[in-house]
């Protein structure tokens, strides 16, 4: 049995929650108020994450997926539970497609996308065979490095003389409307609602009681990190460019230019993104495999690795014909998709209430 430490869960969650927003930006629809929107999403999102952790707390010994059949009964719970691996698989396919869209257009223009993705999936499969414990240790080493590089990047941006804080004001000149638009539901689903996949990791932690606290710390940290980066991007580019850019954060790195010597660091930004995407895909596929293993009562999860990886690879290659369509789906389809909303918010809240009441009456009875 693999066990990860509290610190490892923390580092996995932080990297996972910051994730691909490091390139795509977060709540860019809110323009110069985006950082505020991020903070609001963080507060609400942390509450959602807290609900997830309570559910696993009320059902000790069960993974999140198994709580549905346990609480709702086999007939109703099992189909709902089966929706989760499908959702995880779909999202991992989306991240793979992100790689497919970003890497060839930015740093490897001549290389066919499928070769790039094949290499990517190969490394992920090796990681899946190695197990979550190894991944915990990996993030433990890499998170400090990422934060250090980020710090250097921020210093470089400031020393490039492109930061204009005037771009951030006036605050709220267009009212709260556009803030709420990005906060609900996309702001909550992104990063925080997606932490659902991490729920499959929680049961593997050595101090089960501290899962909740760890997750809240990581959510708040990731939220602050994203809010700061958003504010910085607006300060550098102004509202209009920030709103229109496909990859606002990628543009942020391009702004670095120190005395004609340190310039054009785009490639490092893509490298960042690739690592974040790597970990996110890894966690999603891990969650998929683990849920399938739990739902089919299999002893070994290894048999599922290759099929699942191949499906994700195939989905990534065929998901969207072009970048515009791919990005548009995030903004126009996903927030209003019933599956996303119900799996990430409605069902967890119901499950939380049911477990809570059962737990209370159970303890009262005994």
């Amino acid at each position: 049995m693999e066990i990860i430490s509290r610190h490892q869960l923390l580092t996995i969650s932080i990297i996972y929650q910051i994730g691909t927003t490091i390139i795509f930006g977060f709540a860019s629809g809110a323009g110069r108020d985006s950082w505020l929107a991020v903070l609001i999403s963080t507060c609400l999102g942390t509450a959602v994450v807290w609900i997830y952790t309570r559910i696993t707390h009320f059902n000790p010994g069960l993974t999140y997926i198994e709580c549905y059949p346990a609480q709702f009964g086999k007939l109703l719970g099992t189909p709902i539970a089966w929706l989760h691996p499908l959702l995880f698989l779909y999202i991992s396919g989306r991240i793979v497609a992100d790689i497919k869209n970003l890497v060839p257009t930015t740093i490897l223009p001549g290389t066919p996308p499928w070769v790039i993705l094949l290499f990517f999936m190969l490394v992920i499969s090796y990681g899946l065979f190695a197990g979550i414990e190894v991944m915990g240790k990996l993030t433990e080493i890499i998170l400090p490095i990422i934060l250090l590089i980020y710090l250097i990047e921020v210093i470089l941006i400031f020393s490039s003389g492109v930061v204009h804080f005037d771009n951030l004001s006036p605050l709220l000149d267009k009212g709260w409307g556009r803030i709420w638009e990005v906060v609900w539901p996309l702001g909550i689903i992104q990063s925080f609602g997606e932490s659902l996949a991490l729920a499959l990791v929680w049961t593997l932690m050595n101090e089960r009681k501290r899962v909740g606290r760890t997750m809240i710390i990581s959510s708040l940290f990731a939220g602050l990190f994203i809010a700061f980066t958003d504010a910085l991007a607006v300060a550098v580019y102004g509202e209009e460019i920030f709103k229109r850019a496909t990859y606002p954060m990628y543009a942020l790195i391009q702004a670095i230019s120190v005395s004609d010597f340190i310039t054009q660091l785009d490639a490092t930004g893509v490298i960042y993104f690739c690592f974040m995407a790597f970990l996110k895909t890894y966690i999603y596929l891990f969650a998929t495999i683990r849920s399938i293993q739990k739902l089919t009562y299999s002893n070994s999860s290894r048999v599922f690795i290759f099929p699942v990886v191949l499906i994700a690879l195939f989905m990534g290659l065929t998901m969207a014909p072009n970048v515009v369509e791919h990005i548009a789906v995030v903004q126009k389809v996903i927030p209003y998709n019933p599956i996303y909303l119900s799996l990430m918010i409605v069902f967890p809240v119901l499950l939380f209430l049911v477990s809570w009441i059962r737990n209370k009456s159970g303890t009262a009875a005994s």
């Binding site: 490892q8 490394v123 190894v134 990996l138 490639a267 893509v270």
Partner: protein
């Protein structure tokens, strides 16, 4: 526990008590072994005696003056007068206590035991009427003096290194730890070589489970002969399908002792100056014993320099390839122009260019090890000049690449552990291939593969990257920097004992009591 010798054929010889008969049995066993000598003699015409020994492994002076002389010159009455009344144990008593001047002697009656002792340089003494053989220690053979180790030179620190004789090596360790807590356990490995292996540890500091595991793994070794510690290393390590050395190999007694104090186990093997220390972790392989002898600010700076060396030796050529092939925009413009100018005449892509140079450099290095000393210098001068200067002038490689390759070369010499340096030398090549195919993306993916592999490694249950992953903040004091002895109260690593080799810690504990 001394393992019984495993003989090829079954010796069902039994000591008869008659010297002539027994000697014949020995002669049949040691048939065609010219290095075995037999010496028969009479003691006052009363009893026959004989010595069996291996010439070249015994001290002749000892035999002549401390065994033969007292026996032959002994008081006649001892054997003659009351010979009839003397029983075996009386005779043994007389020989042990009144005749021989040897501190190490013991009686054996089984042939395999006696043969083993004779083969390891002891003298066997046979006496008429006794069904036992006296084994006397007179070991003495040609050996190297204790010299400065060739592979782990230090500027400040003891200049003693191990040599090939195990007893000397043991004494070098014992001299540094004068405590009964230092244990040395004996094992024999190798069906034909019967190599002596000594497991050493500090009782009370080491985790006893670790000692048992080491003994267990060494006990399981089935091999004909052990010629070097590399055999043992390969047979006891956790994951032999890996480039990374998972044990620490050293020629320095002070380094062994330093590690014993941290709760590790040393494995000393006869006939080699290289001692194995387990468990071995990555960061430990990056440390030199000198770190602990120099001022700690300097030592810390040198340690950080080593981390850069690791990155350099692994990544520099592949970064050169990736940047010049795929991401030229990242290179500052002026530098890019000068690189482009020097690459203008080069007909090869950067990858081929770098590959040729790296292979040339590696060959040069390997040749330097094998060549006889006087020639070696000539080769390195010629090689360096030809590869450096002429290749650039001929337009085969560009001069920035020569800088890259030589910096990589220098970086890989900074590794305190030669074995780890070898691993990185080899890993450079897949890295270069990945960089040539996928640019920075390829480097990232290869790094992830590498990290996953390294993170899976364990050495005797200890994760290879301890204390970095799993993280142990207190352990980092002795990894990234070398904190002052005053500040190091706990010790690195996953090992059970939490005590570092700290002189002040002991005092503190005592005061607390």
């Amino acid at each position: 526990m001394v393992q019984k010798i495993q003989l090829e054929h079954n010796y069902d010889y039994i000591l008869s008590g008659n010297v002539t008969e027994d000697l014949n049995q020995f002669k049949t066993i040691f048939d065609n072994c010219i290095d075995i000598k037999f010496r028969e003699f009479d003691i006052h015409g009363a009893r026959k005696g004989a010595l069996v020994f291996l010439s070249g492994m015994v001290n002749m002076q000892t035999i002549d003056f401390e065994i033969m002389k007292p026996l032959i010159e002994s008081d006649e009455r001892l054997f003659q007068e009351s010979a009839a009344e003397l029983n075996d144990s009386d005779i043994q008593n007389i020989i042990e206590n009144r005749l021989l001047f040897s501190s190490q002697l013991s009686w054996f009656e089984d042939f395999p035991d006696i043969i083993e002792h004779v083969l390891s340089g002891n003298v066997a003494f046979l006496l008429d009427g006794l069904q036992q053989v006296l084994v006397i220690n007179a070991k003495d053979w040609e050996k190297r003096t204790v010299e400065e180790p060739a592979t782990e030179a230090v500027i400040r620190g003891p200049r003693e290194g191990f040599q090939e004789t195990i007893s000397t090596n043991i004494s070098l360790i014992r001299r540094r730890l004068k405590t009964p807590q230092l244990k040395m356990e004996d094992m024999k490995v190798g069906r034909l070589s019967n190599t002596q292996i000594v497991i050493t540890y500090l009782e009370g500091i080491v985790d006893t489970k670790l000692v048992d595991e080491v003994k267990n793994r060494i006990g399981k070794i089935k091999i004909d002969a052990i010629l070097e510690s590399g055999y043992v290393e390969e047979l006891i390590e956790d994951n032999s399908f890996s480039l990374f050395p998972q044990v620490l190999i050293t020629e320095r007694p002070d380094r062994v002792v330093g590690n014993l104090l941290e709760g590790k186990v040393g494995i000393i093997i006869d006939n080699t100056p290289f001692v194995i220390i387990v468990p071995g972790t990555f960061f430990q392989l990056l440390q030199s014993p000198e770190d602990y002898y120099q001022r700690y600010f300097v030592a810390s700076a040198i340690r950080m320099l080593r981390f850069f060396a690791v990155l350099f030796s692994l990544l520099l050529p592949s970064l050169y390839i990736a940047l010049t092939t795929y991401h030229q925009e990242m290179i500052p413009t002026m530098l890019l122009i000068s690189i482009a100018a020097s690459r203008e005449t080069v007909p090869f892509p950067a990858f081929i260019e770098a590959l040729v140079m790296e292979i040339a450099f590696e060959s040069l290095r390997e040749a330097g090890v094998r060549l006889p000393r006087p020639v070696g210098q000539a080769v390195s001068i010629v090689g360096g000049l030809v590869i450096g200067q002429a290749a650039v002038e001929a337009g085969i490689v560009s001069s920035p690449l020569v800088i890259v390759v030589s910096m990589t070369g220098i970086a890989s010499f900074i590794f305190p552990s030669f074995q780890l340096g070898l691993a990185f030398r080899l890993l450079r090549f897949p890295m270069m291939i990945a960089a040539a195919t996928f640019g920075l993306y390829g480097i990232l993916m290869m790094l992830l593969l590498l990290l996953i592999h390294v993170l899976r490694l364990k050495s005797f249950g200890v994760p290879y990257l301890t204390p970095m992953a799993p993280l142990r903040i207190s352990g980092l004091k002795d990894v990234i920097v070398r904190a002052s002895w005053l500040k190091q109260s706990t010790h690195t690593g996953e090992l059970k004992s939490q005590r570092h080799q700290n002189p002040f810690n002991r005092l503190r504990q005592r005061q607390n009591k």
